[in-house]
Amino acid sequence: MTATAGYGQALDLITRVGGVRGAMLVSAEDGIVVAEQLMEGIKGSAVAALAASLATRLRRAMEAAGVGASLFWHLQAEGGALLVVPTPNGILVVAVAEPDVNVGLVRLELLRAAEVVG
């Protein structure tokens, strides 16, 4: 299976979780989309850029607090949520979701996808 096909499958498993509106892989350094599966109305390039920027700021804060590198984070908002797992090779696995999504399930699928991405 090619890397791209593998990414597609990994994203597929994330988007199947109820309440997830889209999933994507983002280059953490550039904030650029690597792969995506998004519902209508979600601008992938915006998600990528902003998620990467927030990931960088959060990483610095967490390192300063002494809790180490981020394994998973969840941005909660009144109308939705962003759930992110950073991978060791500089990719972010991102899910855009409804506010009442099952966080535990999404986290699990993000972690599985992160293993595929490497």
């Binding site: 983002v26 280059s27 350094e29 550039d30 904030g31 650029i32 390039s45 915006a46 990528a48 850029a49 902003l50 990467a52 920027s53 960088t56």
Partner: protein
């Protein structure tokens, strides 16, 4: 760091872009390298050099695209260890403009610059004078206009 404009309609879009994208240096210029607005430069020489080089890079890549029988490339990005440079064209009523953006990788990213560049382009298009006829630039005028522009860009 200040943001200054020779043509005032470029100022507000540029200020907004710099804030959102976290850009360190920005030039907005014509395809010929005439600077309409700048942010972050402290020396006139740097502005002139950057404008000339930026316009030349765009002209070169436009030529490559032409030879490939393609429309001009939308944007270029060069990335180093600590900084990135982003160059892109914008269609406005003032003609085709070029934005040269230099950003620190610590403070911004290609994704953010691209994201907010789209808004910059839309804002410049909306704010630009419509149907303006570009002047013919004579050699004598050129020196004076360049000098006047530099004075404006550096608040003198």
């Amino acid at each position: 760091m200040s943001t200054r404009a020779v043509e005032q309609w470029t100022l507000e879009p540029l200020v907004k872009f710099v804030k959102e994208a976290g850009a360190r240096l920005v030039l907005v210029m014509t395809s010929a390298g005439q600077v309409l607005a700048q942010h972050g430069f402290s020396r006139a020489m740097d502005v002139m050099s950057a404008a000339a080089l930026g316009a030349a890079i765009m002209a070169s890549t436009d030529e490559i695209a032409r030879q490939l029988q393609q429309p001009p490339f939308a944007a270029l990005n060069h990335q180093g260890d600590k900084h990135g440079i982003f160059l892109a064209g914008v269609k406005t009523g003032r003609g085709r403009l070029i934005a040269l953006v230099a950003y620190d990788l610590d403070a911004s990213s290609l994704g953010l610059v691209q994201l907010f560049f789209e808004q910059l382009a839309a804002d410049l298009q909306a704010a630009s004078p419509k149907d303006s006829v570009p002047k013919q630039v004579l050699a004598a005028d050129f020196e004076r206009e360049l000098s006047d522009s530099l004075n404006t860009l550096f608040g003198r």
